[in-house]
Symmetry: C2
Subunit: 139 residues, 2 copies
C-alpha cells in the first residue's frame, strides 16, 4: 500500500493510550491490553521491545507485573512513539539511515524529500500523547 505508518506504530500508540489511562502507579499486563484493544498478544509482544529500548515504557516481570509509562502522558510526543515502534519514519527510501545515494549531489528531488521529512517530523513531534486521551483517561 505504501504507508509511512504501519500497524506497528498504530498499535504502539493504542498501547500507550491504554497505559496512560491506567496512570503511572501500577503495571498493566500486556494480556489485558491485548484483549481490551483486540490485538493479538503475540504480535504486541514483538512491538513492546521497541518501546522498552527507547525508554518509553518500563516493564516488570512476574505476578503483578506488566508495562507502565515511564513519564507523564503530557511529556510524550506521538512522533517519538511512532519512531520507536517503526524503527524509522521516513517518507522515502533515499533518506534511510546509512544509505548514501550516488546521485545525491546532482539530485533535484532530494531537497524536497528532506523538507517533507522535516514537515512530517515537526508535526508529529508537536502532538503530545495526552492530546489523544479522553477525559476519563486523563483523570
Amino acid at each position: 500500500m505504501g504507508c509511512l505508518i504501519s500497524t506497528k506504530g498504530r498499535y504502539a500508540l493504542r498501547i500507550m493510550i491504554d497505559l496512560a489511562g491506567n496512570g503511572q502507579g501500577s503495571y498493566v499486563p500486556l494480556k489485558e491490553m491485548a484483549e481490551r484493544q483486540d490485538i493479538s498478544l503475540k504480535y504486541l509482544e514483538s512491538i513492546m521491545p521497541n518501546l522498552i529500548k527507547s525508554g518509553l515504557v518500563s516493564a516488570s516481570q512476574g505476578r503483578g507485573g506488566g508495562y507502565a509509562l515511564s513519564r507523564p502522558a503530557e511529556e510524550y510526543s506521538i512522533g517519538e512513539i511512532l519512531k520507536a515502534a517503526e524503527g524509522d519514519l521516513i517518507p522515502v527510501a533515499c533518506l534511510a539511515d546509512g544509505y548514501v545515494c550516488p546521485r545525491a549531489d546532482s539530485c533535484r528531488t532530494l531537497p524536497v524529500w528532506k523538507k517533507l521529512d522535516g514537515i512530517i517530523g515537526d508535526y508529529l513531534d508537536r502532538v503530545p500523547l495526552s492530546e489523544l486521551l479522553t477525559e476519563e483517561e486523563t483523570i
Copy 2:
C-alpha cells in the same frame, strides 16, 4: 522499509523532469529516457500508463513517437505526479480509499492521521515541477 513514496513515484518524477527538459514540442521515446536516467525500460513501461491515465503526459506511437508533457512544467505540482504514479499517497492504511474502519468514530488517532495527510498533501501540491528543473532544463 515503510515508505510513503516508492520508486514508482520517484522514477515518475525523474521522467517528468526529463520530459520538461525537452520542452512540449516533440515526443521523447521512453528508451532514451530509460538510458539517460539509468532506469530499466521495462519497469518504466509499467509506470507510464499511470501518468497517461491521469492526463499528465501524452503519448504517440510509431517512429518519431514517445511521450511529452501535456502542459507547461509550471502547471504541474509534484503532488499530482506522485499521486498519479503511486495510485494513492496516504501516510496510514486507515485513510485508504473505500476502507471504513469499524473503530472510526471512537478512534482518537484518526484526526491526527487526517491532519498529517493534509499537511503532506498541502506541501507536495504547492511544489511545482518547474522548481525541480535546472537552468538549462528550463530554457
